[in-house]
Symmetry: C2
Subunit: 454 residues, 2 copies
């Protein structure tokens, strides 16, 4: 069945029962908009150009500043109003050299990468015995005296799934809280198996944090094959494993960063706004395509679709947050400068470039009809109805804590953690068809949430 | 259908017509041997232990020497006779630092790796304009005056296929002959798109060669996503592309290397021998699992299967060649020290760890019946009959030039060039079931070629 026929068939179905609380969305209008979005390559072009012309853009660095300048130029050229940057300062960490070498019993190099906020080894590196654990609990259960002065190695295998369940806990524990705990136990350093689902020699970086008063130790993620190799050596042989580790990252103090903001002005200046968001920064090892150039491209392309239809009732605010990866600095600065209760809804796209498969909302009981209208409008795109009391998006978290209602257009994350925070997060991984489906989903969401376009 | 039932069904078929020239191979004996090989994990254990306990083993280096010592110990422990090393000396190249940075118009790092025999940049690197070509012919067609003093960039996309067609020519041309040609044209350096079928940021190294009298220039392979990024920048923008390149490999002169040899002694000491071969060395960026630890594991495990059945008529010679990757030094030394006409047949396994799908022979017209008997015996393993005038195997090439007949058990190479010469050539990529099918195929081949086991 061609798309035209499919749309015709859908148009013949009974009207979507739009509740009184939601505005009247004509089915033909909806299908036409979805059809247009599915033909549009604006998102692809934004994503291609950002990741080619800027490339990697670590929060707080000159590369992120170049990304902001690029973003202002592009968002202006796309026709958005009130394009601006809101600046803030942030403590900034930068990567140095990184190298690991098993000295005994079987000399060989291992591939790893420092975690954000990792401490540094001496300039010549450090040499210590490795003590290995299959998971975070086994590390906790062992006596700290077995860990003091050693390189702690924590392995655990993150399972592949669609929604990223388990990324933070339990599978992310070695990265999130392992370094701090190992430092407190007197470990010389810590290496963890990458929190990822691939088996490429492209290790997964990501932030870690040390409590106040705890001196950061060198902390790195091994590529999955290297973690398996090291665990094999630790497990199968009754010999001490000695490793030489070199990590020379640095904290370079407070640096400028910023959030880039643009608008589609609404007809009613007093109406609460609709925010569509992403984060503009990326890790330093890749041009940040899935994480999160795609989110910026999708949300801007959807807002542009609305703008081309006319003027919505509510103002659509596009926010490309800064410095998400390295500690949500942009999100926190934004929430401090703005009021979460000014928003009708806030939503972020930050889970790759694959298709949206589920919608969840957290609009409250009194807006259930609106939540249902959204579900009905998204259904033709193959998007399932999800929870009514849940919404995600790291950058909109602080605003939601201030009372902003949220929703999520959940993407298929089956391969997200193959690429996440690795050097492999590059343009070639994008499926343009799935990217366009995202634009159609976000356009649909805006048609429902931002009120009638005239 | 279970395997037992399948074998019973096959046993009920008419007898394989074994020609007079080949020995009488009982069908039950054949099926039992194939069944045993398909249950045996000897190959897996050899492969796991070589790649864990030795790891990467570049020809001419101490790591390759450790691999030889490991091999002698293991082949002896497996019960083979006359285990020995035949030494030779070889010129040796070692990798240094490697880094590429686009300076303009869009500053960013690219991932690349030096090709074997690459020249070095100055210690601080070199900066030059990039001149890019879509393929080798376009590079040849351009005027050398456009290339002198520049960094030549040659891109071409190697297609994925089953048998590796096109790896040497035409798709390998940028790597094999590009650097020499670029040096003659006065280029400052050359970077090529990796000769590979993946899109990971794990560049493919590999040897290149410079003619006598041509001074080697820095020569490296970009990871596929990086080559695409660079080509996008070269093509889409009307601005000069400036790159900083740092490559510090070194030629460290003549170093010791060697071939490791072991035997299953035959009942007839005057009969021509059967050689099963692989290469023990690997590139320096990976533990060399597909290339070619698997070949060593498969051939040794198959010879061990024969040894456990009894004594074959002909001596089986197992040769784990040294220094294949970096110029076939082991193969050439062996052919100088031995006589190709002493062999009934020579065969090498050097195309990964995936299943054998085709057999080809080059035994001559007078041994067609034997070639047919081999085909009939391999058929139950799902192995197709291929050419009668073709055989491969880089390390057995020099012996074949001296008159040794050859055959090939061709492996499915569909994913071989995803991993080939990259850091990603690690143990986790192996499918143990396919590895065992290889052992069954090589066991079968030896049953046909080495004469009756008693």
């Amino acid at each position: 069945m061609t798309r035209t026929l499919a749309l015709a068939a859908l148009a013949a179905l009974p009207l979507i029962a739009t509740p009184a609380a939601a505005h009247d969305l004509e089915r033909e209008e909806l299908f036409a908009a979805q059809h247009n979005a599915m033909q549009d390559d604006t998102a692809w072009e934004i994503l291609r150009d950002l990741t080619t012309e800027v490339g990697p853009r670590l929060g707080g660095t000159p590369a992120e500043a170049r990304a902001r300048a690029w973003a202002v130029e592009q968002l202006t050229a796309l026709g958005f109003a009130n394009v601006r940057v809101e600046d803030y300062m942030m403590p900034t960490w930068v990567r140095g050299h990184e190298r690991a070498h098993i000295l005994a019993p079987f000399p060989q190099e291992l591939v790893l990468t420092a975690l954000g906020n990792s401490g540094a080894t001496p300039p010549e590196g450090l040499t210590a015995e490795v003590v290995g654990y299959h998971d975070y609990q086994a590390f906790l259960d062992d006596d700290p005296s077995n860990q003091a002065g050693k390189i702690v190695f924590i392995s655990n295998q993150m399972p592949r799934n669609m929604d990223g369940s388990g990324y933070s806990m339990p599978f992310g524990a070695p990265r999130w809280v392992g370094p701090n705990e190992a430092a407190k136990r007197g470990a010389a350093a810590i290496v963890v198996r990458s929190i990822g689902t691939d088996n490429n020699r492209t290790p997964h970086t990501g932030n870690t944090n040390f409590e106040d008063g705890v001196t950061p130790i060198p902390a790195a993620a091994l590529a999955v094959p290297d973690a398996e190799q090291l665990m094999r050596i630790v497990n199968r042989y009754d010999e001490p494993v000695k490793m030489h580790l070199l990590l020379t990252p640095r904290q370079i103090g407070e640096q400028p960063s910023g959030n880039v903001i643009a608008e589609v002005p609404g007809r009613d200046p007093d109406a609460k706004k609709v925010m569509v968001a992403c984060h503009l920064d990326s890790w330093d090892n890749a041009p940040g395509v899935f994480d999160d150039g795609a989110g910026c491209a999708i949300t801007a392309a959807a807002a542009k679709q609305i703008m081309e239809m006319g003027q919505p009732e509510r103002t659509i605010e596009i926010v490309w947050f800064g410095a998400e990866e390295v500690g949500l600095w942009g999100a926190r600065a934004f929430a401090e400068a703005h009021d979460g209760t000014d928003y009708h809804v806030v939503a972020e796209s930050d889970f790759g470039a694959d298709r949206v498969w589920k919608v969840t909302t957290d609009l409250g009981e009194e807006r259930k009809a609106e939540a249902d209208a959204l579900r009905a409008a998204l259904a033709p795109l193959g998007i399932a109805s999800g929870e009514y009391d849940r919404a995600g998006g790291a950058d909109v978290g602080p605003l939601r804590a201030e009372g902003a209602p949220g929703l999520s257009l959940r993407q298929d994350g089956t391969r997200y953690f193959d690429l996440h925070h690795t050097s492999n997060d590059t343009l070639d991984k994008v499926d343009p068809e799935q990217l366009r489906q995202n634009v159609a989903a976000w356009t649909t969401m805006l048609m429902v949430m931002a009120g009638p376009v005239e």
